[in-house]
C-alpha cells in the first residue's frame, strides 16, 4: 500500500508513554513490502514494544543485511539511525557498532536466507561473543526478493510455489542458538501479536544476545497449500509455552498461584514470566533442547520464550571494557603522550 501516505495530522487523544511520546513517534516510513507480509506485523510489534518500554527512539540503532527483511528497518523507528549493510553480514556490523557504543539499544533484523545461509558464520559468532542485541529473524523459509527459492530453514517436503519439493532438512536457528550459549532464545509468529510484543520487550531489555526466530509468512511466494511456513499451517500448529512480561509491566495481571515465575537477571532487572503451558524449566538449556526435539518429532512448533539465562554475559562484560562508551572517551584519556613515547623509543634501542 505504498501509495497511501500516512496522515500528517495526529490524533491528540493518542495514548502517550512516560516520555510523552505516542506510538506514532516510533513509526517509520510506509512499507513497500507486499500487502499482508508477515514482516510488517513484526515491524508493528517492534513499534509497540519500544513504545511500551519508553525507549527514546534515537537511542536505538537498527541494522540489517539484504533481502525483504533487511528493508524493514526503514518502516519503524524513523528517529533512529539505521544501517542496511551487505548480505549476511549484519552481525559483524552490529558487533562493531556495539563495541563503539555500548549505551545504545541494538535491533538487528535478518531473514532466513540472510542468517541461515550466507550469514550463518556471522550469526554463530555474534552469539558466541554475546553481542547485546535483539536479533530478529523474519523467517519465511523462502527467498522473496529473488522470487521464491527455498531457504535453509525450509522444512523437508515443503512445496515451493512452483511445485518443487524441498529435499534438505532445515537449519533450526533456535536449536543452534541454544547450543551456542545464547542467553535469550524465543520463537514466535508474526501473526501472534499478543505473544510477539512481550517477547520483543523481553529481548530488548535482556542484557545480552537475544534471538527471536519469528515465523513470518511470505504471502507472495510461500503462503500456499503445501508450504510449512504459511499462515494456515502455522496457526494450525501453534503451541504457546510461555509469555514474558518485562519489569515495568509485571504486576498488571493476577496470575493463578504457581503460574507465575520470577527471574532476576544479573544486571538486577527482573522478569516475570507467565506460564501458559507445560512445566518447562526456562533456565535449563538441555531441557529447552529436549523440548524442541520432542515437539519436532510430533511435527509441532514450539513458540514463546524457550530459554532465558539469568547469568548470561554480554561481549563487553567478557572483554572487561569501561562503562563509558568507547566512542565517548576523550582523546586525552587515550593517547599515552610524548613522554611515554620517549621511553618506548628507549626500549627499542
Amino acid at each position: 500500500m505504498t501509495y497511501i501516505a500516512k496522515p500528517a495530522v495526529r490524533n491528540p487523544a493518542l495514548p502517550k508513554n512516560s516520555l510523552g511520546l505516542t506510538r506514532r513517534d516510533y513509526e517509520g516510513k510506509i512499507s513497500t513490502l507486499c500487502a499482508g507480509c508477515g514482516h510488517d506485523s513484526i515491524s508493528a510489534a517492534l513499534i509497540q514494544a519500544c513504545f511500551d518500554l519508553d525507549l527514546p527512539p534515537h537511542r536505538l540503532a537498527k541494522l540489517s543485511g539484504i533481502g525483504c527483511s533487511a528493508k524493514t528497518p526503514t518502516y519503524f523507528l524513523g528517529a533512529a539511525h539505521g544501517f542496511n549493510g551487505v548480505h549476511g553480514r549484519m552481525p559483524s556490523l552490529a558487533t562493531g557498532a556495539n563495541l563503539a557504543n555500548r549505551d545504545l539499544v541494538y535491533i538487528g533484523i535478518s531473514g532466513d536466507g540472510d542468517t541461515a545461509s550466507i550469514g550463518l558464520g556471522q550469526f554463530v559468532h555474534a552469539i558466541r561473543r554475546g553481542v547485546n542485541m535483539l536479533y530478529m529473524v523474519e523467517n519465511n523459509g523462502t527467498y522473496g526478493l529473488t522470487k521464491g527459492q527455498f531457504s535453509a530453514t525450509a522444512d523437508v517436503g515443503s512445496k515451493s510455489k512452483r511445485g518443487e519439493v524441498n529435499i534438505y532438512p532445515p537449519i533450526d536457528l533456535v536449536r543452534l542458538a541454544l547450543d551456542l550459549g545464547a542467553g535469550f532464545v524465543a520463537r514466535s509468529f508474526s501473526g501472534d501479536k499478543d505473544q510477539l510484543v512481550p517477547l520483543i520487550r523481553g529481548a530488548l531489555t535482556y542484557p545480552g544476545f537475544a534471538l527471536i526466530d519469528c515465523f513470518s509468512p511470505c504471502v507472495t511466494f510461500n503462503n500456499h497449500e503445501g508450504s510449512t511456513k504459511s499462515y494456515t499451517y502455522i496457526r494450525g500448529h501453534d503451541l504457546p509455552i510461555v509469555d514474558l512480561i518485562p519489569p515495568r509491566q509485571e504486576i498488571t495481571v493476577d496470575y493463578e498461584p504457581g503460574a507465575r515465575q520470577e527471574v532476576t537477571l544479573h544486571d538486577g532487572s527482573r522478569c516475570v514470566l507467565r506460564k501458559l503451558a507445560g512445566d518447562h524449566d526456562l533456565n535449563d538449556r538441555a531441557a529447552a533442547l529436549a523440548l524442541i526435539e520432542e515437539h519436532r518429532r510430533r511435527g509441532e512448533l514450539v513458540t514463546g520464550l524457550i530459554f532465558l539465562d539469568p547469568e548470561g554475559q554480554d561481549m563487553h562484560m567478557r572483554m572487561n571494557t569501561v562503562e563509558t562508551p568507547l566512542n565517548a572517551l576523550r582523546y586525552e584519556a587515550l593517547c599515552p603522550g610524548a613522554e611515554t613515547l620517549a621511553s618506548i623509543n628507549a626500549e627499542l634501542r
Binding site: H58, G85, S92, G96, A100, Q122, T321, T340
Partner: protein
C-alpha cells in the same frame, strides 16, 4: 661488494626453523647495533612451524646502507638440508662457519671460500634436554661469531641480561654457551677475520623496530579504541602489538577496565564488518590484513566507499597470487586495494617506507579516513612489517588532536542546522554525518549500500544516482589534495626520473649513489599516496623518461598512472622485482643500467621539480 672491509659485511645464518634460531640471530643483530653500527636484518623464513630451512641475514654497514645486499661474506651453515645452497651463496673469499660435530661431505666444499668448523653440538652435550641443546647450540655460534667478527662480548652478555632479566640461571647458561663458542673459535682460528666489527657511534638515537610494531603504536597514539582482525601472515603482529600496548597504556587505573576492544573475528569479512560498524558509530577503529584478507573484504569495502564510512586498513602485502608465498614480500596488492569491490569504487592508499612513517601514517590514515569518510589503506609489506629496521625514533607532538571530520554534534543539530547525509555543502565533495544516538529529533538517517540520492534517501532514479556518484568522484579529487605529497629524494636535475615507494626506498638510496658513481644521475621521487598528488604528476611531466620501480610482476603502479593520470605509456619504464625477497641495490643498479642509453642522458633541461 668487496670482502675485507671493516664494518661492511653480511652474515647469513642458515638454520632449521623451529629451533630457536631467530632469537639467537636477533641477539647477534642487536649486538652490532649496540656497537653503534647501522644494520639491516632480513628474516627469510618458511611458511612452516618446524623443520624447514630458514635464513637470517644481517648486514652491517658503516656507510649506513640498510637495504638488503644479497650476497654473504660469512655463512653460518647450521642446516644440513640447505648446506650446499648455503655454501654456494658465499662471496668468493668469504667464510663458512659450520658444525663439525659430524663430518660433512667435503666434495660439496668450494675452494674459494674458507671453511671454519667447530663442534657446536659437542659444546652442548651437558644439556640432557634436546630442546635446550638446540637453543644453546645457536648461542654457541653467536659466541664463535663474537670472536670471528670482534663483537664486544660485554654487549652480548648485556643483551642476554636484559632478555632474561631476573632469571639468573638462564643468564648464566647463555653466557656460558657464548663463552664456549668464543673460546673454541679463538683457539681454532685467527680471530678476528679480515672483515669484522669495530665500535662506532653512527646510529645515534635511532631505534630498531618492525613496521608492524610501529603501525600498532601509531594506532594507540591516534586514539584507536577498537580493532577487529583475523590472523594472517604477515599482518598478525600489528594486532598483537596493539593489544600489548593497550594492555600497558589503555587500562583504566581506577576500575581496571579496558579503554579498548580487540576482536579476533571469525574471518576477514567479519573483521572489516566490525570495523565499519564501529566507525559508523564514531569510534576510531582499524583492521590489519594481507592480500587474501583484502580479497575477502572487498564487498564490505564497496559499502564503506559508497555509504561513506571511515575505515583504516593496514595491508601488509605478501607474495601473491592466491596463497602465494605467505612468508615472502611483494608490493602486489595495489590494484586490488585501489579498486577493491565491484562497481565504480576507488580507494585512498598510503605507502610508508620506514617504521617511522608506519607510525606517522597511522595518525594520517585515521585523520584522512574521518575527514574523507572513506576507507584508507596503509600499504605496508612483509619486509617492512616483520623485519627489524634501523629507524629514526618515533616523535610525538602533544598538541595533536584528531581530525574527526565533518560530524554534526548535538549542539549543532539543536541549533537547527539542516542536515542531509550526502549533500555537498562545502563544495569539496565531502558531506556531513552524525553519530547514532546524538539528538532525539534531528540527525537520524539511514545508511545503505543501495542506491541513494544526495539526501540519503533510497533511489533508483538515474539522474539522482549520477549526481551522488559524481560527487564521490569529486571527493576523490579532494583526497588527492589531502594525502601526503610525494618526497623528492634526489634532484640532480636529470632528464631521467625514477619513481618508487615503500621498501624500495632504502636500497634505492644506495643504488642512486652507486649509479652516480658510474656517472648516471637520476631525479628520484618517492610516492607516498594514491590518488596521485600534484607533485607526482608534475614530476612525470617534466622528465623525459621515468623509471617506475615496484615489487610486482604486472607493473601495477604504472597501470594506475596510465589509467588515473593519463600518462603516455612510452614515458614510463618499468623496473619490476617480484621474486619475493627484498629488493637489493645491485638489482636496481643492474636494471637501470640495462635501460639507460646514451641518448637518454642528454644534458639536463632543469627538469627537477
Amino acid at each position: 661488494m668487496p670482502v675485507g672491509r671493516c664494518n661492511e659485511f653480511v652474515v647469513r645464518c642458515a638454520n632449521v626453523n623451529g629451533t630457536g634460531s631467530s632469537s639467537a640471530n636477533a641477539l647477534l643483530a642487536r649486538a652490532f647495533y649496540r656497537m653503534g653500527l647501522p644494520i639491516a636484518a632480513k628474516n627469510i623464513f618458511p611458511s612452516n612451524i618446524q623443520g624447514l630451512p630458514t635464513w637470517y641475514e644481517i648486514r652491517v654497514s658503516e656507510a649506513g646502507y640498510t637495504g638488503r645486499r644479497g650476497s654473504a661474506d660469512l655463512v653460518v651453515a647450521m642446516n644440513p638440508q640447505s648446506f650446499e645452497e648455503d655454501v654456494a651463496s658465499v662471496c668468493p673469499g668469504g667464510y663458512v662457519l659450520y658444525d663439525s660435530t659430524k663430518s660433512i661431505n667435503t666434495a660439496r666444499k668450494r675452494d674459494d671460500v674458507t671453511f671454519l668448523g667447530l663442534p657446536f653440538m659437542g659444546m652442548v652435550q651437558q644439556h640432557t634436554n634436546q630442546r635446550k641443546r638446540l637453543l644453546f647450540k645457536n648461542i654457541c655460534y653467536v659466541g664463535a661469531l663474537a670472536a670471528l667478527l670482534a663483537i664486544d662480548f660485554d654487549v652480548l652478555t648485556g643483551l642476554i641480561g636484559e632478555q632474561f632479566k631476573g632469571k639468573e640461571r638462564l643468564i648464566n647458561q647463555n653466557v656460558e654457551a657464548l663463552a664456549r663458542g668464543r673460546d673454541a673459535a679463538l683457539a681454532a682460528f685467527t680471530c678476528p677475520l679480515d672483515f669484522h666489527a669495530e665500535r662506532r657511534d653512527i646510529v645515534g638515537d635511532k631505534i630498531l623496530v618492525t613496521g608492524n610494531r610501529a603501525c600498532a603504536l601509531g594506532c594507540v597514539y591516534a586514539g584507536a579504541t577498537v580493532a577487529a582482525w583475523y590472523p594472517i601472515t604477515p599482518s598478525t603482529s600489528i594486532a598483537e602489538a596493539f593489544g600489548e600496548y593497550c594492555a600497558r597504556f589503555r587500562v583504566d587505573e581506577a576500575s581496571g577496565r579496558n579503554k579498548f576492544a580487540i576482536v579476533q573475528a571469525e574471518d576477514e569479512l567479519a573483521a572489516i564488518g566490525s570495523v565499519i560498524g564501529a566507525a559508523w558509530n564514531g569510534a576510531r577503529v582499524f583492521t590489519a590484513t594481507s592480500g587474501p584478507g583484502l580479497s575477502l573484504m572487498s564487498e564490505f569495502l564497496g559499502l564503506a566507499y559508497y555509504a561513506e564510512i571511515p575505515a583504516v586498513l593496514f595491508d601488509v602485502q605478501r607474495t601473491g597470487p592466491s596463497t602465494g608465498m605467505p612468508t615472502r614480500t611483494q608490493q602486489s596488492d595495489l590494484i586490488a586495494a585501489a579498486y577493491a569491490s565491484h562497481g565504480d569504487t576507488k580507494h585512498v592508499l598510503l605507502f610508508p617506507s620506514s617504521p617511522k612513517e608506519c607510525f606517522e601514517f597511522a595518525t594520517v590514515a585515521f585523520d584522512l579516513a574521518e575527514r574523507l569518510q572513506t576507507p584508507i589503506f596503509v600499504m605496508s609489506d612483509l619486509d617492512l612489517g616483520m623485519n627489524i629496521w634501523l629507524s629514526e625514533p618515533f616523535a610525538w607532538d602533544d598538541s595533536y588532536r584528531p581530525d574527526r571530520g565533518k560530524v554534526l554534534d548535538y549542539a549543532v543539530l539543536e541549533s537547527g542546522t539542516s542536515f542531509y547525509r550526502y549533500l555537498d555543502v562545502d563544495g569539496d565533495g565531502i558531506p556531513y554525518r552524525t553519530y547514532p544516538g546524538t539528538h532525539p529529533a534531528r540527525g537520524a538517517y539511514f545508511t545503505r549500500g543501495s542506491g541513494h540520492d544526495k539526501y540519503g534517501f533510497y533511489t533508483e532514479d538515474s539522474a539522482k544516482y549520477r549526481e551522488n556518484v559524481d560527487r564521490l568522484r569529486r571527493k576523490f579529487e579532494t583526497a588527492a589534495r589531502l594525502v601526503p605529497e610525494a618526497a623528492l629524494e634526489a634532484a640532480p636535475g636529470s632528464p631521467l626520473g625514477i619513481l618508487y615507494f615503500g621498501t624500495t626506498a632504502e636500497p634505492m638510496r644506495e643504488a642512486l649513489e652507486g649509479l652516480s658513481q658510474r656517472g648516471i644521475e637520476l631525479d628520484a621521487l618517492r610516492l607516498r599516496a594514491f590518488p596521485f598528488t600534484e607533485g607526482v604528476l608534475r614530476f612525470i611531466e617534466c622528465h623525459d623518461t621515468v623509471f617506475v620501480v615496484e615489487q610486482n610482476r604486472d607493473a601495477q603502479l604504472r597501470t594506475l598512472l596510465l589509467a588515473e593520470a593519463g600518462i603516455a605509456p612510452e614515458k614510463l619504464v618499468s623496473i619490476l622485482h617480484y621474486g619475493g625477497l627484498p629488493v637489493t641495490a645491485d638489482f636496481l643498479i643492474g636494471s637501470i643500467l640495462e635501460h639507460v642509453t646514451p641518448s637518454m642522458q642528454r644534458p639536463t633541461t632543469g627538469a627537477a621539480s
